[in-house]
Symmetry: C2
Subunit: 217 residues, 2 copies
């Protein structure tokens, strides 16, 4: 069967690839799995039909036959388990790739997401300016550590894996901040991920949802 | 071989089970895997020997023969894959349990952790009082959704799984806030997890590290 994923009907990031369906699209493209997309509006995301698929009323979800999954990390892992291309065959290397998946989502993404949310939700608050250096420092700490580990390697642990896929996508949320560029090896790492043909196809597909909605110029 | 994990030599939470080694200890106890613990000081965590094991200079780590892992979620998953007790045998049910693992760490934990960090790091800031309702609201939103999904069930998806283990441990960080107790089913869920013999053994083991350091009364 062809799996179906959900994505935003109206892309809040205007197709910059920051919505979490990008991770799943990219993973599907890496393993060569065709997929279908069902677009959901913000209102639909909070309706019972969608909440049955995703308890937290978000995107993406993944449906394949009788299986319904939520959480981008879990969906990427499920895709990576079923087809070769995103996890090493060696058991120890595979466990380390899974560690990088969790590191991307549980150690690196939280301070990046917190900083991004403050930029959106607290920009008009009297404390915004004062808190910004603190939020930047939290992000920089993780980037310093990540850059030190990556060093001169192409990917975090041997061949490109689902861990790299999630990490590159997490770092993309810092676009425009200049924080990634403080580490030339991290900037090159993100660019290396984005240069992959599978990334390019996934990015074009999620962007098409947005551009299709633009009124003719 | 007997795996070795790392834990804080000096427990910042005074043995309340909030340090992330608790998750790994609990998982090891659930599957009946004996383990050894190496305690590390805050200074040691930032030294090259520990950074080689954990790029972000944190605990826990997991070493077994030639394999070194970091990230509590990845370690719990590795343990769950090797011995029965934490993941269902059915492939679809297993994928859903993994979804709950990622949900605990990437959707539910971030707002809880952000709130906890603000209580520690921003209590003396002029904006602390004004931001607190916003942080509580972010946590409440996730708890509302989680409580709605859990309903009257014992666990999130059928039998107890690694997803429940991580979710219960994540919710423990709200202890004393009263937020979990706003949903009696969530409070009962946390208590149900904590009543498990494996939890009890793991909790006692991590507490013993702290009590052993207390000066005689």
């Amino acid at each position: 069967m062809t799996p179906t994923i959900t994505a935003f009907a109206s892309s809040p990031d205007r197709g910059r690839g920051l919505a979490r369906d990008m991770r799943v699209r990219w993973a599907l493209e890496e393993v060569g799995q065709p997929y279908e997309v069902r677009l959901v509006s913000f209102a639909q995301m909070k309706e019972p039909a969608h909440l049955a698929r995703h308890p937290f009323g978000q995107i993406p979800t993944y449906e394949d036959g009788g299986l319904a999954l939520f959480e981008s990390g879990a969906i990427v892992f499920h895709i990576a388990e079923r087809r070769p291309g995103l996890l090493p065959a060696d058991a120890d290397a595979r466990a380390r790739a899974v560690a990088w998946m969790f590191a991307a989502l549980n150690t690196v993404e939280p301070p990046i997401f917190e900083r991004a949310m403050a930029l959106i939700l607290e920009r008009d608050k009297p404390w915004f300016e004062a808190r910004q250096p603190m939020l930047d420092a939290s992000v920089r700490r993780r980037l310093d550590e990540l850059a030190a580990r990556l060093g001169g390697a192409d990917w975090l642990d041997g061949a490109f894996s689902a861990g790299d896929l999630l990490m590159v996508n997490v770092l993309m949320r810092l676009g425009g901040s200049g924080l990634v560029e403080e580490h030339p090896n991290l900037a090159a790492y993100v660019a290396r991920g984005q240069a992959r043909p599978a990334y390019q196809r996934a990015f074009a597909a999620q962007l098409a949802v947005f551009t299709a909605q633009q009124p003719a110029g």
